[in-house]
Symmetry: C2
Subunit: 204 residues, 2 copies
């Protein structure tokens, strides 16, 4: 099984790159599917899971159960359970033994024993801000300053979550096979170049 | 002109990778040639230039003139002149307008206006130590601990030299298009994969 994990800075285009890469390689692709599977396991709301696992680090967050509001979590055990559920879902994906691309979720660390090709995707702050504005959902009216702050916050939370799981630092090139700065790339062209690069890696 | 700059951690195999890449692409290749050209410009000894520019940072170092010992330098002006000579040599290379690969020498910063494809090459410490022992010259009998220290010292000096020239940090992925960890790669296979990657970049 060829397993590719993609970690990425918020707004770097890592998700789109991973999807394009999976399509070109004919690999399975896992992103929000993982959250759905955790929701099924835990009975918790997808939005809650996503935020609890990543976007808000270990902060308290109102909890919902099957989309119904219950109560704020003020303790860590809920988060730990979620991390365990996440690990279980990732293990199930890997156990299928099919070539795949997994976006985020610390899959590079949690599935380390499968020796994944670990890719980190970054970009210049200006490029990330531009991308975030382009894909911002309606009603999300952030100023540029607020967008920069949001990008930094999300990445900080990702780094913190990884720090809980691994000795290596999120974004440190030593922890990845390849670190790609998407700033000057057309993502479609980059995905093509990357697909060829990846094939050589797995064939060597 | 397609210009590729390769910055690298000591012992990562960046130099070999760059040479193989240049050969595969049919690009000119510049490494020790740059030191020779500076020696010609300045009349200084090649060994001195190399150490003064990189390996020993801004420390004092005995100076030789046309390979004859003169005196220790206790001031900075000599180093500044050398950096200027280095810049002049790099400018002359770029002015030729021919596709090329340049190893080290902060060419990514000094030739920024030519919009080089900036590659950084790193590797795990264990892999770097192994490579350094394999290529160590006769008489260089370092213990493993000493070799680790040497690797860290060389990289620290490289980072310091870059800090003088640029606001961005040496080795920070934001400053490069691509950061490659050579640890699990066969360098010949990697050079092939990289050549194809590079061609896509310049063609997009």
């Amino acid at each position: 099984m060829n397993l590719i994990t993609i970690s990425r800075e918020f707004g770097s285009g890592g998700r789109e790159l991973g999807k394009r890469l999976a399509d070109l390689l004919g690999y399975d692709y896992y992103d929000s599917e993982i959250i759905s599977a955790i929701a099924e396991k835990s009975g918790l709301d997808k939005g809650y899971i996503e935020k609890a696992l990543e976007q808000h680090g270990w902060q308290n967050y109102p909890i919902t159960f099957n989309a119904s509001f219950i109560a704020p979590i003020y303790t860590d055990p809920g988060r730990v359970d979620l991390l365990q559920d996440q690990k279980a879902v990732l293990d199930e994906i890997a156990a299928k033994g099919k070539n795949c691309v997994i976006i985020g979720r610390n899959a590079d660390v949690l599935l380390e024993k499968y020796d994944p090709l670990r890719i980190f995707v970054c970009a210049d702050m200006d490029a990330k801000v531009k991308r975030c504005f382009e894909r911002a959902s309606e009603g999300e009216n952030l100023t540029e300053k607020e967008m920069r702050r949001k990008i930094k916050q999300v990445d900080k939370a990702r780094a913190q979550t990884r720090a809980i799981l691994s000795g290596s630092s999120w974004g440190d090139p030593q922890g990845y096979h390849l670190t790609i700065n998407t700033t000057n790339w057309d993502l479609k062209a980059l995905a093509g170049a990357l697909a060829s690069f990846v094939n050589t890696y797995f064939e060597q």
